[in-house]
Amino acid sequence: MDNAIRAALAQYGKLAVDASALGREDDLFAKGFTSNATVNVMLALEDEYDVEFAESDLKKSTFATIASIEAVLQRLVAA
């Protein structure tokens, strides 16, 4: 799942750094992540995992780090 998130960030995140070099706890917004880009990454991951982020997940902290994205994604997949 970490690889899939990094791939989505690389393709849709518009980050200022290489997604493969990011630490799992690195602040993505400090690396250039924008609110619109979070939508793109979310849509890509929803499509890949056939899940849907709930309203309660649509907050900045969900997309703050690779770890936080993965935590939400794991919960959605397990549901």
Binding site: Y12, N36, N40, L43, E55, S61
Partner: protein, 124 residues
């Protein structure tokens, strides 16, 4: 300085980013972020949608509740006699009504950048 009893939020959105989202994800992006009325009233034009995206973000900033998720559909920009106004729905409406008795919106955009400013009057 914000007038006493008022709070303000603003946001800038790159038009090219919204255009790219539409080109890449199409209806999935449009339906996920914008209401049917917003899509209709903007003709899905990227610069106008970018302004509406900025408005949604500006309201989220105004709420200043980062631990609460927000459905972008709950912040709707509606043209009334050609003037963009905010129509809040769902939990955003509930949260706003508990704190503000009036909210105003202003939008602007160039070919490259869209902005929104919202100001709300706090309930005494």
């Amino acid at each position: 300085m914000t007038p006493a009893g008022h709070v303000v939020g603003c946001d800038l959105t790159e038009v090219a980013d919204v255009a790219e989202s539409i080109a890449t994800f199409g209806d999935a992006y449009l339906r996920r972020v914008y209401t049917a009325l917003e899509i209709e009233q903007t003709g899905a034009a990227a610069e106008r949608l970018a302004a509406r995206f900025a408005a949604k973000e500006a309201v989220v900033k105004l709420l200043a509740e980062p631990d609460i998720g927000t459905d972008p559909h709950d912040v709707e920009v509606v043209l009334t006699d050609g003037v963009p106004t905010l129509r809040l729905h769902g939990t955003v409406c509930e949260r706003a009504a508990a704190r503000w008795d009036r909210i105003e919106l202003s939008l602007s955009h160039t070919a490259t950048t869209a902005m929104a400013v919202v100001i709300a009057r706090e309930v005494p």
